[in-house]
């Protein structure tokens, strides 16, 4: 059996655990016979671990408001074509292209608000249309408004019986459901409840922070449009809602807190669900 010589690239691939099994075994044999090389690779592995230890905490920092703002799509797609040729980047106008887009966006918003106002007299139909367009966000917001002010009985099963809550909701929804942990963001689980959705049960988890501010996560498993949506934002009265669809799951996070703070929590929830 002739073996290919072990290369420097093999050694790095070994550190990064991307070698196929048989080649890895060959590298291990090589290292057993070459203690100096082994200690060099050992140091590389240690570097890698140390770099993660040093920089991973950045992942848990709350996101600066400017960045959250920029994560929002800056312009309405239809406006893009209009905004783009308006400014020549190379000539560095006194307004940056970015601010031009912002201005374009605010025009678009003004235009839309005007349109909304004009539609105002047909308010009932508009509301109806809204409900059809964003049933998830709307249902979640209504559920939030109904249950979160309840002092005595905000939830059916409290957080001290979290195991039972998870078991129960998992059984009723027919799919594993569990509340994300938001303690690091200052939100503790109060508990959860089962609610009627469009065609069956949905779950609601409720959290609160030290000031008593409540936040609810609405979890539906009846999303039939199999297309995943982006992070969407909706406002229903005083309640802000971030919602998204992931396969059959629809998630909506509602609270009467400002959009930036809610986005921060929503990101954490999304990450936890993503890494489940």
């Amino acid at each position: 059996m002739s073996k290919l010589p072990i290369t420097e690239a093999d050694l790095h691939a070994y550190v990064d655990a991307v070698l196929p099994d048989d080649r890895r075994a060959e590298v291990e044999d090589f290292l057993a016979a070459q203690p100096e090389e082994a200690s060099r690779l050992f140091a590389y592995q240690a570097q890698k671990d140390a770099l993660r230890q040093l920089f991973n905490p950045v992942l848990d920092e709350s996101l600066p408001a400017e960045l959250l703002e920029l994560a929002e799509k800056p312009i309405v797609p239809a406006m893009e074509a209009m905004a783009t040729p308006a400014v020549d980047m190379k000539r560095r106008p006194f307004l940056s292209r970015w601010s031009m887009q912002r201005i374009a966006a605010s025009f678009a918003i003004a235009l839309l608000s005007g349109l909304a106002g004009w539609l105002g007299h047909g308010q009932y139909q508009a509301t109806e249309r809204m409900a059809q367009m964003t049933p998830l966000a709307r249902q979640a917001a209504v559920a939030h408004v109904v249950y979160s002010p309840d002092i005595k009985r905000p939830v059916e099963v409290t957080a001290d019986q979290e195991d039972q809550l998870v078991k129960w909701l998992t059984k009723r929804l027919g799919t594993p459901v569990s509340p994300p942990k938001l303690g690091t963001l200052g939100y503790e689980l109060i508990g959860g409840r089962l609610l009627p959705g469009n065609a069956g049960p949905v779950a609601q988890f409720m959290y609160h922070d030290s000031s008593g501010q409540r936040l609810t996560l609405y979890v539906s498993t009846e999303q039939t449009v199999s297309r995943d949506t982006g992070f969407r934002f909706a406002r229903e009265g005083a309640v802000n809602v971030f919602y998204w669809v992931d396969g059959k799951f629809g998630y909506a996070l509602s609270a009467g807190i400002d959009k930036g703070e809610l986005a921060r929590v929503a990101t954490a929830v999304y990450d936890q669900l993503e890494n489940k």
């Binding site: 420097e8 691939a13 655990a17 140091a43 590389y44 570097q47 994560a71 970015w98 929503a266 999304y270």
Partner: protein, 166 residues
């Protein structure tokens, strides 16, 4: 590319930027510039392709532009400086600072590859396409960067007590 996917990438972009430039505010500015350019060039992004790699690529190009503009001040220190003595360490805290300091002394292009491997866990091929360099160049930068970092840290403080986790 939409708000949700962007939001999901933000923490990673920030971590990489912080590791690349060190300073928090400068790093966040870099992320901000990346997002702005990302939205402006949205049309160039192929839906379905790897958004993260695309954004990291944009950040990389911005960084290259920045360094080009800034001139010699921020040029990565050369071979000779990497031998410069570093202060002795007394505690873990200082040791962490030493790693940051040693990282900052690596040439920019080696640091980028090292961090994309260590933090982003990108494959060598992904790194090649993100940075727009051949695979062989990725490997040689990784090899040189790791060795240089090892020598810098080894100079006064063995790292062998860190456990290898595989």
């Amino acid at each position: 590319m939409d708000s949700r996917t962007i939001l999901a990438e933000l923490p990673r972009l920030r971590r990489y930027a912080r590791a690349m430039v060190g300073d928090r505010a400068v790093a966040d500015d870099l992320v901000q510039d990346t997002l702005e350019r990302g939205w402006l060039r949205l049309a160039q992004w192929r839906p379905g392709s790897d958004l993260r790699a695309w954004l990291f690529g944009i950040m990389h190009n911005l960084r290259v532009d920045q360094l080009r503009c800034q001139g010699p001040n921020t040029q990565p220190l050369g071979e000779a400086e990497s031998e410069a003595p570093m202060r002795a360490t007394q505690s873990d805290r200082l040791e962490v600072n030493d790693l940051a300091a040693a990282l900052a002394r690596l040439p920019e292009e080696q640091r980028a590859v090292l961090l994309l491997v260590a933090l982003e866990e990108m494959s060598y091929e992904q790194i090649a396409s993100t940075l727009g360099i051949p695979l062989g160049t990725v490997m040689s930068r990784l090899s040189r960067g790791r060795e240089r970092l090892r020598l810098m840290l080894d100079g006064h403080h063995p790292v062998a007590h860190l456990r290898v986790v595989r």
